[in-house]
């Protein structure tokens, strides 16, 4: 292990312990890590967005990349039309966001916001209707009594329960009727299915969460403590 890595591991270990200390109670070590984390991660995403969004989606199409002419060069030097020049509109929409710095004209930023919201609404309309609605309906249209070379009791029970579960839980989401009488009874069954589903998902996720902690603890024990001892020649 080289010196720089060892320094890095010590920093990582100290920061890990700072965050863990939050479990006991709020304290200056957590506060230190918290402020550092917010700052560092905000800086991270600024640099990331510049390199992964702004550069490839705005700067390079207009001004060119190494070995590739940008739209401006094509238009003004070669005299040909280049549709990448439309990216200018994106730049303008982006610039409207900067008007938020000045409260008097902050409303200009609504162009950027409205564009983003509209785009998201269009995309959500299609994506949700497709993947979460039609595909899920299709998955529920299954035979309640299954015959594969004779009656299959196990599969039939599973399918019937699934169908009853989906239908009753959907009734729970019915808003324009009071949940009384038959509708109320079915909705009640729906809630039970929802509760089983939540309990199951909770129980199932416990393992993934414990795994994360194992990862951190192994880092502290193996990389930090054992690593340092090994670097000092004690292990």
């Amino acid at each position: 292990m080289d010196g720089l890595t060892l320094v890095g591991i010590w920093i990582a270990a100290v920061l890990t312990l700072c965050i863990l200390s939050f479990l006991y109670k709020d304290n200056p070590f957590y506060k230190f890590a918290e402020y550092l984390f917010v700052g560092v991660s905000a800086g991270f995403w600024i640099a990331y967005n510049y390199h992964n969004l702004l550069k490839p989606n705005l700067l390079q199409p207009l001004f060119g990349a190494p070995g590739e002419k940008g739209a401006f060069a094509v238009i003004f030097q070669d005299g040909r039309m280049d549709f990448r020049v439309l990216t200018v509109i994106a730049g303008l929409l982006g610039l409207t966001m900067l008007f938020r710095f000045f409260p008097k004209v902050a409303w200009v930023s609504r162009y950027g916001i409205a564009f983003s919201v509209g785009l998201g609404a269009g995309l959500a309309f299609i994506v949700y209707l497709h993947a979460n609605c039609l595909a899920q309906i299709k998955g529920t249209i299954i035979p309640p009594l299954v015959f594969n070379d004779g009656f299959d009791l196990g599969a039939s029970l599973a399918n019937t329960l699934l169908i009853v579960g989906v239908v009753s839980a959907l009734v729970y989401f019915y808003f324009s009727k009071e949940h009384t009488g038959v509708v109320g009874g079915v909705a009640r069954l729906g809630i039970w299915f929802l509760m089983v589903s939540f309990g199951a998902a909770f129980g199932y996720t416990v393992m993934a969460r414990i795994s994360l902690l194992i990862g951190r603890m192994e880092f502290l024990i193996n990389d930090w403590i054992k690593g340092t001892l090994a670097a000092l020649g004690l292990l």
């Binding site: 416990v206 993934a208 414990i210 795994s211 902690l213 194992i214 024990i221």
Partner: protein, 288 residues
């Protein structure tokens, strides 16, 4: 009675401490609990066993350091199994950091076998685009990955000379921590090119892939750390996942015991003093 009430409203930091102990002790002193193997893991193992030696297998590394504890052990034991059966392994990544994870995995496993780069395995590196990458691999892998991770021409590698498109691949193993990952391979690799797809995923994502198992779009699935430990058991090479399962078992046990305590104390305290349940009603709210 006092104890019961204390237990019902215990300081959660005591619980935190017990969880920490439950996780740390088995790391320091492994117990070695046996792992039962589920059919969905066994079917991946059986598939690799059944392939004729020298078959081409793609391993797609679609995870990053954040999910390393769960997914990386799967990569290690799957690679180990492939190399044992002398299959040819083609590594690729749909996640930016996946290719690095593959380099680490090869460093950890490769030493135990007599392997030659380009003949026994290749690392094609990362390619952004998810579905589109897989779709293009259906017509030509050489075009999607003109060069391998080290910058060598893909077509010139002896192993890849025989693998021109997905049609030349016997099995795809996707080690996935999210999107793009298993769904992309199922949608494109299986639906369009009829390749056999196996998957390994984090425990959080695993339930959403069960329907694919039902329909046979996935031949098998390793779910979370448990799935990784199962594969280690199958290839008889217990490693990190089996060790970590000890921590899992103990931590689960702690939580289960506490749930039992909570209910016992809840019932005793309720009988003792009607309606004196500890804490605020935290049951399933929002419902009548």
């Amino acid at each position: 009675m006092k104890f019961v009430l204390w237990l019902a409203d215990i300081d959660r930091r005591i619980l935190f401490l017990l969880i920490a102990v439950a996780v740390v002790v088995p790391i320091l002193a492994p117990i070695g609990m046996p792992v039962t193997v589920t059919p969905q893991s066994k079917s991946i193992y059986d598939e690799v066993e059944a392939l004729p030696p020298g078959s081409n297998v793609i391993v797609s590394f679609d995870y990053d350091p954040a999910t390393e504890p769960e997914v990386h052990p799967m990569a290690l034991s799957f690679l180990r199994h492939c190399f044992e059966k002398q299959h040819k392994v083609i590594i690729m990544a749909l996640w930016p950091q996946g290719a690095q994870m593959a380099v680490r995995a090869l460093a950890e496993v490769g030493g135990d076998f007599d392997l030659e780069y380009g003949r026994d395995y290749v690392n094609l590196g990362y390619k952004p685009g998810g579905d589109i990458v897989i779709k293009s691999m259906g017509s030509s892998i050489w075009e999607v990955f003109p060069r391998d991770m080290a910058g060598r021409s893909t077509a010139s590698l002896p192993l890849m000379a025989k693998v021109q498109s997905l049609n030349d691949v016997a099995l795809v193993m996707d080690l996935s921590a999210g999107d793009p990952g298993i769904p992309a391979w199922v949608r494109v690799g299986n639906a369009l090119y009829h390749r056999k797809i196996a998957g390994g995923s984090t425990a959080v994502s695993a339930p959403q892939f069960f329907p694919y198992l039902q329909t046979g779009q996935l031949i098998g699935l390793l779910g979370g750390l448990k799935g990784a430990a199962e594969y280690e058991t199958l290839i008889k090479y217990p490693g990190a996942a089996t060790r970590r399962m000890d921590s899992q078992s103990v931590a689960h046990l702690v939580i289960i015991i506490f749930i039992i305590f909570a209910n016992v104390s809840y019932f005793i305290s309720r009988r003792h003093k009607e309606g004196a349940g500890a804490g605020r009603a935290a049951g399933p709210p929002g419902t009548p």
